[in-house]
């Protein structure tokens, strides 16, 4: 009972802030609302007893990605912040697309047979996650690491100014 109430409160906050993020005309507000949305997702993880995932969500998404997004906004902003996030002119096609997406998602959610676990929640989530990462999913883990490295090098190359030959 309490669990359900909490879930719906969190869901409303998460989805509401996501919606406001899309509709806000101020890009800085959008970024902050995105942060709220991320925190809401972290709260959902907590409800699911996935405390490590929740903390990782807060650390990576709320603590790092939002900060970088805002950092980028700060550096590139011109003039008044209030009119930085104008609506797209292609609102109707976008709405249609979104609608299709929602329908597909809903259909999938309704059709899927969700497995319900009756196990007691794990005490030490970290060690089990670590074990899976370094045994079963080690290839995926390493590939992700390499991908991130490539992305980082790419970013440095893009940002670094090319010196004119003198």
């Amino acid at each position: 009972m309490t669990f359900a109430v909490m879930f719906y409160v969190i869901a409303i906050i998460t989805l509401g802030s996501a919606l406001m993020m899309v509709t806000s005309t101020n890009i800085f507000h959008s970024a902050l609302l995105m942060l709220v949305s991320f925190l809401g997702i972290a709260a959902v993880f907590v409800l699911l007893q996935a405390d490590f995932l929740a903390a990782a969500q807060v650390l990576v998404y709320a603590g790092a990605i939002t900060v970088f997004v805002i950092f980028g906004i700060m550096f590139t902003m011109k003039g008044d912040a209030r009119k930085t996030n104008r609506f797209s002119k292609n609102a109707i096609p976008a709405a249609v697309l979104s609608l299709i997406l929602i329908v597909i998602n809903a259909a999938m959610v309704l059709k899927t047979q969700w497995p319900v676990s009756s196990h007691a929640p794990l005490e030490e989530t970290v060690s089990s996650v670590a074990e899976l990462m370094l045994t079963k999913y080690v290839v995926a883990f390493e590939v992700t690491a390499v991908l991130l490295l490539i992305a980082m090098i790419g970013a440095i190359v893009i940002v670094k100014e090319v010196k004119k030959p003198s």
């Binding site: 550096f75 590139t76 902003m77 011109k78 893009i158 940002v159 100014e161 090319v162």
Partner: protein, 367 residues
């Protein structure tokens, strides 16, 4: 290429690190300065115009309001200029001459201590501030004994000094001189050798000697760039030819050197003070000068080696009891000009350290 927006930033007029009401407009790219424009005049009181309506003696107190951390030296410059104009500079009593040297050198130390303190504070080292001001306070106590005032002494007179030293003065001075070497060691220990301080000052905003000359810079700021020119040694005024001292000169002209030259100068000033203390003799402190000072018609440009550079007066007399024109040649006004050029390419934090290292007093720039 990704480009960031340039930003115009007002540095001053009320900013904690402008040492008064100076204003510079920085154009920043990120936090690096791409363009800098000086704006002066927020403290302009029209002292040059005022001088034309004051008699020669009435103008003496205004000197303390020029460079308000070295009032004694301003006064010494002014009274010696008027004496030179009147042709009585050889009649000044011996004791008065020595007292002028003692006061000037004490004031130089006090001024450099203010520099030391504020330079440290501009790099957020608030502790050195208190070390600098501890000893400056002792010097100001000495001024209070002699002149009755700490910052605007109004002590020098045309023909000598206002009053003889009282009996406490010399023992207190002796004690101060004895303590100074230890104090200088403390200054060096707390700031000069600090790794962060050195990283932030060495090699920052170097100014070549050529450029410093072209900008007409003088004093410690120029000597840091290798310009070996000190009026006390090269064109001795007063009785400075009787003293033995070195003129510290460094070659790099960066922020650290401008800092170092001043600290070394404190040591040399202590040396001069030791000699003056030793040679000070009894006697009158005031020459016989007419009640109404009326220099003959003519003009003079008289400079002294001030704590900030060459401080001079260009006085035009028409034979009346008021100067016809009095122009104050102030070193800070000249020394602040290259900041526009030096600041370009610096990080904002370095620009503030560089500005501090020029040792600017706005009371003198704006006059």
């Amino acid at each position: 290429m990704i480009r960031t927006e340039e930003m115009k930033l007002n540095f001053g007029p009320h900013h904690p690190s402008t040492h008064g009401v100076y204003r510079a407009v920085f154009t920043l790219e990120g936090e690096y300065i791409t363009h800098c424009v000086n704006h002066l005049g927020y403290l302009h009181r029209g002292i040059e115009k005022l001088a034309e309506s004051k008699t020669y003696n009435q103008f003496i107190p205004y000197n303390g309001r020029l460079d308000y951390v070295s009032g004694m030296m301003n006064e010494a410059a002014y009274v010696q200029a008027v004496e030179e104009l009147m042709g009585i500079s050889d009649q000044i009593p011996e004791r008065a001459q020595y007292i002028r040297v003692i006061m000037s050198e004490l004031q130089r130390i006090a001024s450099h201590l203010v520099f030391y303190a504020s330079m440290a504070l501009d790099m957020a080292g608030s502790t050195p501030w208190f070390y600098g001001f501890r000893d400056r306070d002792r010097i100001l106590d000495l001024f209070e004994m002699a002149a009755g005032n700490r910052m605007m002494p109004n002590y020098m007179r045309i023909g000598g000094v206002a009053a003889d030293l009282n009996e406490e003065f010399l023992p207190t001075l002796r004690k101060l001189l004895d303590d100074m070497p230890k104090c200088i060691e403390e200054y060096n220990g707390i700031l000069t050798g600090n790794e962060i301080f050195q990283a932030r000052t060495i090699g920052v905003a170097p100014l070549s000697g050529e450029k410093a000359l072209n900008y007409g810079m003088s004093g410690p700021s120029a000597r840091a760039s290798g310009i070996d020119y000190d009026l006390r040694r090269d064109e001795p005024y007063g009785i400075y030819d009787r003293f033995k001292f070195n003129v510290p000169v460094t070659q790099n002209g960066d922020t650290f050197d401008r800092y170092l030259v001043r600290l070394l100068e404190i040591e040399e000033s202590v040396r001069i003070l030791e000699q003056a203390y030793r040679d000070l003799s009894e006697g009158p402190v005031m020459a016989k000068v007419p009640k109404v000072i009326k220099p003959p018609a003519g003009e003079i440009f008289y400079r002294i080696e001030h704590s900030k550079g060459h401080f001079g007066f260009h006085i035009v007399s028409d034979g009346s009891n008021k100067p016809y024109r009095l122009r104050i040649y102030s070193p800070c006004f000249v020394n602040v000009a290259p900041f526009e050029e030096m600041a370009v390419g610096l990080h904002m934090q370095d620009a503030i350290a560089t500005f501090a290292s020029l040792d600017i007093i706005l009371g003198e720039i704006d006059r």
